[in-house]
Assembly symmetry: C2
Homo-oligomer: 219 residues x 2
């Protein structure tokens, strides 16, 4: 017996796997995903896999067209900018709506992120940066007890993550790592002060900077 039902666990696993591949640009926008091929890879039939693709479609990451295929979406820059606007506001709300009490354990996690971030400098890789950024984002949303805020923030994060990654690959990787490290240091400082609102404000500020940077990279 598993904690969750077998089917639900597999659903979550496949969903997370495909979402990660899309957001890490393993499947760049325009890629055609074959239900049959994916089903074979994951050792199931099309039926459970279609449930996963349906959710990805609801989340705006793919779009299924009858007779054509299931295609990874590419997002309108204007809509992306507006989504970032909302993400920025939500990041600030994490500090105001049911913030958690900052424990020693949380501070230690913040310190761990910084350590791992600094390790990126010795061996700079875009994918490693993206993965750590993704993990750090989840850490950030875990600082509120407001489930709706968490879910919404994550939903929007995964919708915009690809754009950030695409823009990053056009920028100087080492510089991007340095910027990320700066955020981690500011964040750690806020956590050490046991100030959840300050931590949220750090995230908010860096999303603002990220918006400006991506806009500048586009022209």
């Amino acid at each position: 017996m598993s904690d969750q039902s077998d089917a639900r666990a597999r659903f979550l696993r496949l969903h997370d796997a495909l979402r990660t591949r899309i957001c890490l640009l393993d499947y760049p926008p325009g890629t055609r995903l074959s239900e049959e091929t994916l089903a074979a890879e994951f050792g199931t039939s099309r039926t459970p896999l279609r449930r996963v693709l349906a959710r990805l479609e609801d989340e705006g990451l793919v779009i299924s067209q009858h007779g054509v295929g299931t295609i990874v979406t590419d997002v309108d820059p204007g809509e992306m900018a507006r989504t970032y606007d909302l993400r920025r506001e939500l990041a600030g709300l994490v500090g105001r709506l049911s913030p958690v009490a900052i424990t020693d354990e949380i501070v230690a996690m913040g310190h761990d992120f910084l350590t791992r971030g600094e390790a990126l400098l010795t061996n700079p890789e875009v994918r490693a940066l993206a993965r750590l950024n993704m993990e750090y984002f989840h850490f950030g949303t875990s600082l509120t007890m407001n489930e709706a805020l968490r879910d919404t923030s994550e939903r929007l994060y995964y919708r915009t993550a690809r754009i950030w990654l695409k823009a990053t690959s056009h920028l100087d990787l080492t510089e991007e790592i340095a910027i990320f490290l700066a955020e981690l240091r500011d964040s750690l400082q806020a956590l050490q002060a046991r100030d959840a609102q300050a931590a949220a404000d750090v995230r908010r500020a860096h999303i603002s900077l990220c918006i400006a940077r991506v806009n500048a990279a586009r022209g």
Copy 2:
């Protein structure tokens, strides 16, 4: 040929129909929805219907349990309160993130809502109030061009709509209508001033009041 593909149109139709039934308490929390019965009612097989139920499950309105059934959820009061907190903030953001220009047509729509609201006084019905409130909510989100904000607000609205309705049925209906009318009047005033931020603030304020009222009804 239809504008959308046939399948997608039907999906949206079924989804909207079931979501409305759940939020209007036609299917109160705990109700067991039979896939086969619903499929028969809508003239399809289980397959397309399961796609609809899967989305409703992702939205938190039902939960499917293998061997048991698909059951309409009932929500934890604490989580509901936190969801309302977020909804309040999002309502305020509608005025700040890409607000639309208030046109004469929009003002006319606001006036129309007021007229229809006043009509409720002569024949008070909970369902009619709930339906108008739902329609008015969509009108409110249409005042921003930010798609993500619109989608998120609606998603959260449908997640909390039932709770409001359940609480309302324990309160004085005529008084609830009067409160709703006051919101419509305040809103109309803001629209006539062509002030989108003011309109958003009106909504924000009334969500705050709604939270207090629901809390008072429970305690």
